[in-house]
């Protein structure tokens, strides 16, 4: 089943969204989404690494011996993560400090190794780049949605600017680890409800057509 190029890109945002559909990359999703700025920063960093590693893995897929391909992919990913680490420390030190240990932990982000193994290792360079862009964009958008909810309701701010007015009492819990779990769980439940509704509609449509 060959997808069009546009579908390769949009699947990462919708039907194969890495956080909400594939349930990968949970650690940064809950840890850095305490503010929109951090969520966006992490999303962009991970997208950069994903793009570069998908490109390289797709380029070398012909000459990599299958038995040791995973360690080789890991080295490729780790190289780009090290580059990202150093660039971030030099040009965005506040973000680097806010993200803490989750910058080097991008290397064990299941999304990146997962796409290298499942897609870039078996597809051409152009499709791998588009796939990486799509997955990275989906990851970033998901992080921003999570971070936006947590920052607005848990801090009364968005991107550091107060948006909720004077009389708003922020729900501090949402900024804490427990809040991350709750927001994620409720979002997943909402998504599942929507899925069940779509499936039910499709069933009634199929019966009506008979």
């Amino acid at each position: 089943m060959q997808r069009t190029i546009v579908q390769e890109f949009t699947k990462g945002i919708g039907s194969e969204n890495p956080i909400f559909r594939l349930v990968l990359g949970l650690c940064p999703a809950l840890a850095v989404t305490t503010s929109l700025e951090n969520g966006l920063g992490m999303g962009l960093a991970a997208t950069f690494v994903l793009l570069c590693s998908n490109t390289i893995v797709s380029l070398i897929k012909g000459i990599v011996p299958p038995k040791i391909r995973i360690p080789i992919y890991i080295v490729v990913i780790a190289t780009f993560v090290s580059i990202t680490e150093m660039v971030m420390a030099a040009y965005a030190p506040d973000l680097h400090k806010a993200l803490g240990i989750f910058v080097p932990l991008i290397v064990v982000n299941c999304i990146i190794l997962g796409r290298a193994e499942a897609f870039a290792g078996k597809n051409g360079v152009f499709r791998s780049v588009v796939d990486g862009l799509g997955m990275g964009t989906g990851f970033t958008i998901s992080l921003c949605v999570l971070a936006g909810i947590r920052e607005i309701l848990g801090d009364g701010k968005l991107w550091g600017y107060p948006v909720m007015g004077q009389s708003f009492e922020p729900v501090l819990l949402l900024i804490l680890p427990a809040g991350g779990f709750f927001v994620m769980g409720l979002l997943m439940a909402a998504l599942k409800m929507k899925d069940m509704r779509t499936a039910a509609m499709k069933r009634t449509q199929a019966i009506a057509e008979k």
Binding site: L30, I74, V75, S82, V107, V108, P177, F182, M188, K192
Partner: protein, 216 residues
């Protein structure tokens, strides 16, 4: 006092700053491996083993090869001062962890096949467990909550690896117990599976927050 620091590391790593519920490390196996108590226990014990070994090997590698202050690579530079290779930390650590897990896999497959079959796909997944690489990096970055601002000593790193793993095992077992009980209850269809697991994780996180006021 050295014994007090060791004790503090243990208490903090297991309770006050639990690796899963406070630091957000090891979430994928926390939600993926916790449906049954037996697989949770197996995964937790394997992770403790890997975390202790990874802590020790990465510490030795960092201290004697990468860190210019204590490196033995002085012969590489013209002025006798070892080169600062700390930027290779991420690559070196993840390679160590990947090789370690590979060796353990091969060893188990040959010597203890039932355990190898029981762990199944979860053993190679320990490579991408944030907790393993996380503890290796935490050993180098220091533990500011208890006043250790620089790199931990070898013994302290071992203890943090072990205690972090124990904390991970404990939380995994708790979650597995809860989820097994939940199988017998009626919950809304849209909450079944992952969503209710997240809610339970959140409740556990709130419970563990109670330890944060602990002052020793």
């Amino acid at each position: 006092m050295d014994i007090k620091i060791i004790f503090l590391i243990i208490i903090y790593s297991i309770l006050i700053q639990n690796f899963v519920l406070s630091r957000f490390l090891g979430l994928c196996p926390f939600f993926g491996c916790s449906q049954k108590l037996s697989s949770a226990v197996g995964m937790g014990l394997a992770v403790i083993f890997v975390m202790v070994l990874a802590s020790s090997i990465t510490w030795i590698l960092y201290t004697y090869l990468l860190d210019p202050a204590t490196s033995v690579m002085g012969f590489l530079a013209t002025d006798g001062v070892a080169p600062d290779l700390t930027f290779l930390r991420t690559i070196a650590f993840i390679l160590v962890i990947a090789s370690l897990v590979q060796f353990i896999e091969m060893f188990l497959q040959k010597k203890v096949p039932p355990l190898y079959r029981a762990l199944g796909i979860f053993l190679p997944l320990i490579t991408t467990n944030c907790a393993v690489l996380g503890v290796a990096v935490l050993n180098i970055d220091g533990f500011s909550a208890i006043g250790l601002d620089g790199k931990l000593t070898f013994l302290q790193s071992l203890v943090q690896g072990f205690a972090g793993g124990v904390g991970f095992l404990m939380v995994l077992v708790l979650m597995a117990g809860l989820r097994e009980k939940l199988e017998l209850e009626t919950i809304p269809e849209s909450m079944k599976g992952i969503p209710v697991a997240f809610i339970m994780g959140g409740l556990m996180a709130i419970a563990f927050m109670g330890f944060s006021g602990l002052s020793i």
